[in-house]
C-alpha cells in the first residue's frame, strides 16, 4: 500500500519509494533518508507533531509537513 511517512503509526515501517517534492532537503538524504531505505516511526511528540523516525541508521525528528513528502510502500506485518 502506498502512503507517506506522516501516516505511519508508532512501530509501523515502510520502504521509501520517491520524493515527489523537488526541493526535498539534501541534508535529510545525507542523513540516510534515501529511496530504498526503510523508515520506522519511533515516537510521536505530544500534540502529534513533530515525529521521530528511524531511517538508514539515523534517528531523526522531522515535522509532519515534511514527512508528508516522503512516499512509502508500507510493510505489512
Amino acid at each position: 500500500m502506498v502512503t507517506t511517512a506522516a501516516n505511519l503509526r508508532k512501530g509501523q515501517k515502510g520502504i521509501i519509494t520517491e520524493f515527489p517534492n523537488e526541493g526535498f532537503p539534501l541534508k535529510l538524504m545525507e542523513m540516510g533518508c534515501l529511496p530504498g531505505n526503510t523508515v520506522e516511526l519511533v515516537q510521536v511528540a505530544p500534540f502529534n507533531d513533530p515525529i521521530y523516525i528511524n531511517v538508514g541508521d539515523s534517528h531523526i525528528a522531522i515535522r509532519r509537513s515534511l514527512a508528508e513528502t516522503i512516499v512509502l510502500e508500507l510493510i505489512e506485518d
Partner: protein, 746 residues
Amino acid sequence: MATKEIKVALLGNPNTGKTSVFNALTGLNQKVGNYPGITVEKKIGFCKLGNGTTAKILDLPGTYSLNTTSLDESIAVEILLNKKGEYFPDVAIVVAEVENLKRNLLLFSQIKDLGIPTVLVINMADRMQKNGISLDVESLSKELGTKVILSSVRNNSGISEIKQSIEDIDAISTDSFLDITEVSPEYFERLKKLFPQEDPYKLWLVTTQDVNFTEIDKNQQAQVNDITTTVDLRRYQHKETVLRYKKINASLKKAYLKDPTKATSLKAKIDSVLTHKVWGYLIFFAILFLIFQVIYDWSNYPMDLIDGFFASASNWVSKTLPSGMFTNLIAEGILAGIGGIVIFIPQIAFLFLFISILEESGYMSRVVFLMDKLMRPFGLSGKSVVPLMSGTACAIPAIMASRTIENWKERLITILVIPFTTCSARLPVYLIIISIVIPEGSFMFISYQAFTLMALYILGFGVSILSAWILHKILKIKTKSFFVMEMPGYKMPQAKNVGITVLEKTKSFVFGAGKIILAISVILWFLGSYGLSEDFKNAEKNVDEKIASNGFSDFNKTFISSNIQNYELSLRDSVRTKVYHINNQDIQDSLAIKRNDLIAVAKEDELAGYKLEHSFMGQMGKAFEPLVKPLGYDWKIGIAVLASFAAREVFVGTLATIYSVGSGGEEEETIKERLAAEVHPSTQKPVFNFASGISILLFYAFAMQCMSTLAIVKRETNTWKWPMLQLAIMTGFAYLVALIAYQFLK
C-alpha cells in the same frame, strides 16, 4: 633540534564524541577563540608526538556533510578547500560513531575525495557489544583505502593509535573514494573544459556551495552557472548522495554486521518516558526547578567566602600601603571592581555545569522534540528552546546557538527575543537586590528569595515568548526550509568534557566581562574621587561649617548614639562581672574617647558623601536624576544604571565603587550590608526598599543593556536595524514597566 609541526583537522558528525577525542588528545592544552571576522568558535589544541613532533589539532564544528547549510559548517569547507590557508591540514581525522557508522562514512568519503590524507576513527567502541555490532577493522581499512582506528575515549583506548597515525601520515593514501564525474559525465566534461587545471570534486563543491573562499574568481564562477540550472544541480547533488551510499554499503557489507534484535530497546524505553505528554513535561520542569534551587542554595557558601576575602583584601591594602591616590585606586577602584565579578563565578559555573550535562547526555534533543509544536504558534521552533535556555547563561553564545535553526524567520525571531531571557549578568543584580528587599523565610520548603528569583526567570522567558508572538504577527518574511534534527543515543556525560566546558565558559565570561568591568570601575573611581567645582575644593570647610551649624545628619546621629549606648552597656557589664576593675570616672573617660572616634568616623563619612556629591560623577548623576527619580532611584543608582548600558554586571561593581568611596569608616562592610544601610538624605528612609527594589529588578529584566549582545546581533543579522530596534524597544518597555511598578508600590 627544531620541532616539526603537523597540522591536523578534526572532523565528524555531531554527537560522535569528537570533542571527547579532542580533549583526550590535547588535555587542557587548548586555545579557544574565534575565526577572524565571524563568531564561529575556533578550538585549537596541541599534542606531543614521538621524535619531537607536535600535532596542532584544529577542532572543526560538527557537520553531517560538506554540503553546508550553516555558517559553522561552511567554515569546515572553506578551510579544507583553501590550500594556501593558515589552517589547511596535513591530515584530516574523521571521528565516526560505531552505531551510525554508515551515515558517518558519508562525510568521510567527501573529505577523502578532496585528496587530503584522511584517518577514520570509529569512536564509542564500548557500545558495540551491547548493540550487537561486529566490525572487521582490517577489512574495512582495505575497503576504504585508509587507516581505520577503533577507539573508546571512555575506556581510554585507541588514543595512542591516533597519535601514531598522525606521525605516519605519509603512509596514508590520498586516492579518492568516489569518482564524482559518475554523477553526470556530460556535465563534468563541460566543467573540465572551462577549468582544465582544477580537480573536479573541488570544482563541484565550489559550484554548489556558497563558500567565500575559492581559487576561482567570480567571473569564472558565473560561467559555471551558465552551463547548468539550479534544478539540475540539485538533482546531481541527490544523485551524488545516492552513489556515495551505494559505495559505502558495498564497503560495509563484509566488514560491519549489526544484529537488529539487539538494537535500541533501552533507548526506545527512555524516549517513551522523556517525550511522554505528561511525564515528559513534568520531568523537564522538575529539572529546571532543580537547577534554580541549586544555583541559589549551593552557591551561597563559596560566595560568602569570596565576598569576605575581597573586603579584607581591600582593607588590608588601604592599611598597609602608604596612603595616597595610588592606594585608593587599588583599594577602592580596582579591588572593589574585581570583587564584584569574581563573586558570581560559583553561580555561573553551576549554570554551565547543568547545561553541559544536559547537552552531553542527549537530553537536550528530547526537549527540542517535546517543545517544537508548542513553540510554533509563537513563530519559534523547538530548536529555539536551547538558545533560549543558553540565554540564561549569556545571550552571546545563545544567539550563536540559534544558527542550528534552518528557517530564517524563526531564527530572526529567536535572536530578537533572546536578550529578554535572564542572562547570568543579571544574576548579580537580582541576587543583591533580592537579598536586600525580599524578606528571608520560606513557605513550604520554598524560600521567598529563591521563589522571587525563579519568578524573574519565568518572567523573562514569558516576555520573550510574548514578544516572539508579536513579531511573528508583524514580520512578513517568507522562507522555505525544514526542521531536521538528529535524536542521538543517551550517554553518561563524561566528567572531563563537562569539566573543560565549565572551565572554558566561566573563564571566557570572567575575562571577557572582567575587562569591561575593571575599566569602568577605574573610570568611576576617578569620576567619583575628583571634581572641579568650588564646593568640591572647599569640601572640608563646608562640611565643618555644616556640622557646626546644623549638627550631624539624622542617620549619623542615631549611628553615634546607638553605638555609644551599646558600648556603655557592654562596658558596665564587664565592670559588674569583674572583668574590668575601673571606677565611674574611667568609664566616663573611655566613653568620651569612643564618642570622639565615632564623631571622626561620622565626619569622614559625611565628608566623603559631600565630596562624592560634588565630584564629576555626582554632577553627572544629578543631571541624570530627574530621569530615574520616577522609577524610585537616587542619583547613585542612576549612575550604576547608566554604567550598566556597557554591560549589566557592572551594576554591583559600580555600586561597590560608589559606596566604598562613601564609607570612610574603619569597619569593613560588605557590599550588601552597605547598600541595605543606605538611606535617603532627605527622608531618612532606606534607598533600597521594596518598591525601588522591584523597580530595579524589572528594569534589569527588560532593558537591553549589553554592548556585546548588540554587536553580535548586528553580525548575525548583517544590519544595524535589528540591534537598534532591540535597544530602543526593550529599554523603553523596561522604563515603562519599572515606572508603573514603583508608582504602584511606593
